[in-house]
Symmetry: C2
């Protein structure tokens, strides 16, 4: 029916909006990396800190807090001595997996391109 020929702008804007929505939630410098880490299973604060190379503690807790607010992760506190905190993706957070996979695959390819061309 509606071919993308004469008035593609509406179609286009809709897609762009969807993508923009996604990036609003995943938009921090580190959020996607954190999700990638959490896809491997529940992680402690300090573990994420080691996994996500370059992130600072401040950023990690801040991003995690935002992600908690956005219902992407659960924060589980065990009142051991000293306390341990485990983060894990919610069902909703796990639904990002395809995005991460796709992005990761593209990233690997990209790295190859870089290697060849730089």
């Amino acid at each position: 029916m509606a071919q993308i020929t004469k008035h593609p702008t509406q179609e286009c804007k809709k897609s762009i909006q969807a993508v923009h929505d996604a990036m609003y939630v995943l938009g921090g410098k580190w959020k996607i990396s954190i999700v990638a880490s959490l896809l491997f299973g529940p992680r402690r604060y300090s573990e994420i800190l080691r996994d996500v190379v370059g992130i600072s503690g401040k950023m990690l807790s801040r991003e995690l807090k935002e992600m908690e607010t956005n219902l992407l992760v659960d924060r589980i506190v065990s009142d051991t001595q000293p306390i341990t905190v485990t983060y894990e993706l919610t069902k909703y957070g796990k639904s990002i997996e395809p995005v991460i996979i796709t992005l990761g695959e593209w990233g690997e390819t990209h790295r190859k391109c870089i290697t060849r061309k730089d």
Copy 2:
């Protein structure tokens, strides 16, 4: 063989790196939206400006320049009067399509979640 149990960190870091690489190139506030726009076909500067709601001219040209540098887009100048400039995705740029699609789908779902929960 190597189960993701004892030493998941290496596996994990690799994935995270790949994702991080991707975000390095796609990382601006607007780049992904611009790619989304360009996926609908070549676009003029002013068209992208209209498609990507909220972006300013300065940001658009800046982001496009970076994307050109990263070989994601081609910039084609027609020396009409006045000149017109068309941007289109390179083959490499088009390879991001799956990412955008996946992200867009997730974004739509996310919007539904927002609607229900906010």
